[in-house]
Amino acid sequence: MTDVVATNETILVVGGGISGLTAALEAAECGKQVLLVEKNPSVGGRIAQLYKYFPKLCRPSCGQEINLRRLKANKKIRLLTMAEVTNVAGTAGDYDVSITIHPRYVNENCTACGACADAVTAEIDDPFNYNMTKTKAAYLPYNMAYPQRYVIDPSIVGSEDANKAKAACKYEAIDLDMQEQTIEIKVGAVIWATGWRPYDAAKIQPYGYDRFPNVITSVEFERMMDPFGPTGGKLLRPSDAKPAKNIAFIQCAGSRDRNHLTHCSRICCMASLKQSTYIGEQYGDDADAKATIYYIDIRAIDRFEDFYKKVQADEKVHFIKSKVANITQNRDTGDVVLHGVDTEGYQRYDNTHDLCVLAIGMEPSVRADQINDSVSADASGFIQPNGANAAIFGAGCATNALDVNRAVQSATAAALRAIQVVNRVSSAEA
């Protein structure tokens, strides 16, 4: 049984992505007790799946290394992975929380030596690569995964494979009898940082994500650039693994659309501008390599404008003010053909591209109205600013479509709101 010590002065942080991690660290570095709950086997969330950040084009894992060092060094934070908050009841300063912890089948003895992975044969879809690839059923989620501890996929538990893994482990780290368990704890305040998920691209029927292999989403494209990603860091299109050079980016794929997400997802313009630079990075001055960005408005707000200007100056990148009407596929070549109208002066086009990337919209992973009655949701299911005197505070992309910098700001603010509550509790008890 997992023993967790938590009191009315403890802050519960739900979600171990950049926002949750930040909220937990900032609160803990103010001296507060924090319980950090992550539903995946390791912390890091979506940023761990990013190749680069805009606008600096730096590496997300650089900041993650710092945050992990902060986390490892901080004894005030208790981390639970593969754990989900199933119920939050109570009032500010006094919440009863139920947390369900799913079995990892690997205990803290694990040295991440990798012997179990070598032993098993079964493979499962790799969610870290958006299921574009397979991974062993005994796996370390990704290079920088923390806790640095393997996972046995439930699908092989009870199979010969699982026993092979167990046998291969010299350190009694594999425990196939682990059971799912639910713990009940008290906390004083809750920071909800469950983040976002990409909108289901298949629902955008005119773009045929479900019909044409060479129509992919921006998050999948991002994985392609990772040397440890599905294509080993090459921009190879799914249909025939040919290098994709003439690449289209479709903005507002699911966003700003009454048929899909009514809000603007904010990051997609910058994401596509960023991804358009990958083409130069990969192909140098190869004349065939080019990006075409189909947009309604380029929303490079505040100082992001600098980056927009930089990309505009790149003759490899073309901009067409148009929401693409639909996509068809050339059966012989597998190329995608984008149909529409450039609305700046009415030019019709039927443009052929090697690959089409949908700048996919953001929706909240957990709808605000599913958390607790005291939490108010906006039309898209994001957490609205807390008016009530409840102490469940949204952080990061659970509150709005935000870029990393704003998500971290939001998480830092949430940390203070939670601290205000637990400080009230402690002064009351003192």
Binding site: Q205, P206, G208, R211, N326, T328, Q329, R331
Partner: protein, 301 residues
């Protein structure tokens, strides 16, 4: 199976010796086998079709449809209105929606109908549905299989859904870009539905086949070409306008484009009727200008 009853709105093209009379014939036979009773709306009138807008305008067009709805409410109370023609279905449903949305429009319409001693209630009192919805939702693919006697095995169908059966309302759970129900129907009765028929929902020009023949026939050419490309033996459709446009202009298209089109264009109801052991006449196959020989052969067995 308990008898299912509906208030039926056949529409002009399905009248005797009208352009879709054979559609009607096969629908009757099909419903017979499926134990569906269609109670024709007495004294129904034309829906105005989409093209009616230009001269008819807004209110008169809605009045035409409102009259039918009113007659149905009056004579076939508590029965869903079912149409077999896309335009009829669309026109009636659109009017119903619009009247429900605008009190002004509803009031005006009521005022007009009063002249004929009619009244209309709405707020979805009488759901307006396409025959295809009845088959899929009320009978279900399993149900459609039951009366099946003959398989349409060996025939390749291009399921041409067209526009107005598909947009703006469409069939529940189907996508506007790639609806699958025709293909599923074809497979239900043992036929082969060609996969990735990318002109499935392309417009045939509709009424503009009359006024803009060249432009429309360009569309029709693509629709037929794509069917051939995928090796279809015949085209199947749920819409009288589509059926006619795609079938009757093939000679002219051949002249104009030097193509050699000669592909039958059938109705889903004809397929089902044949599968349900109806003969060629019952299936209205004698109504096809380009004979659907393979179907006739199966029907003859």
């Amino acid at each position: 199976m308990a008898k299912k009853e509906y208030s039926f709105y056949p529409g002009c093209s399905s009248e005797r010796k009208a352009s879709a009379s054979n559609y009607m014939v096969s629908v009757d036979a099909m419903c017979e086998k499926l134990d569906i009773k269609l109670n024709e709306i007495p004294d129904w009138n034309c829906c105005g079709a989409s093209i009616g807008y230009a001269e008819g305008g807004e209110l008169p067009r809605h009045v035409m449809n409102a009259r039918n709805i009113a007659l149905s409410e009056q004579n076939n109370p508590d029965q869903d209105i079912v149409a077999t023609c896309a335009a009829c279905w669309l026109g009636a449903k659109e009017t119903a929606d619009r009247l429900d949305a605008s009190e002004q429009l509803l009031a005006d319409t009521k005022e007009v109908l009063k002249e004929a001693g009619l009244d209309i209630h709405l707020k979805n009192e009488t759901p307006i549905r396409h025959m295809v919805e009845v088959l899929i939702e009320d009978i279900g693919y399993e149900g459609l299989k039951e009366p099946m006697v003959k398989s349409l095995e060996g025939i390749k169908f291009a399921g041409y859904v067209g526009c107005q059966t598909n947009r703006p309302f469409g069939i529940d759970g189907e996508s506007f870009e790639n609806p699958m129900y025709l293909d599923k129907m074809v497979e239900t009765v043992g036929g082969e539905a060609i996969t990735d028929y990318d002109k499935k929902v392309t417009c045939c020009g509709g009424a503009l086949a009359f006024s803009e023949p060249e432009k429309s026939q360009k569309q029709i050419k693509d629709i037929i070409e794509a069917a051939y490309d995928q090796g279809a033996d015949m085209i199947v459709t749920p819409c009288p306008v589509c059926q006619m446009n795609v079938e009757v202009y093939q000679d002219q298209i051949n002249k104009h484009y030097g193509t050699k089109f000669h592909i039958p264009v059938t109705y889903y109801s004809q397929l089902l009727t044949v599968a349900y052991c109806g003969n060629a006449k019952e299936a209205g196959l004698d109504g096809n200008i380009i004979r659907a020989k393979q179907l006739e052969e199966i029907a003859a067995k």
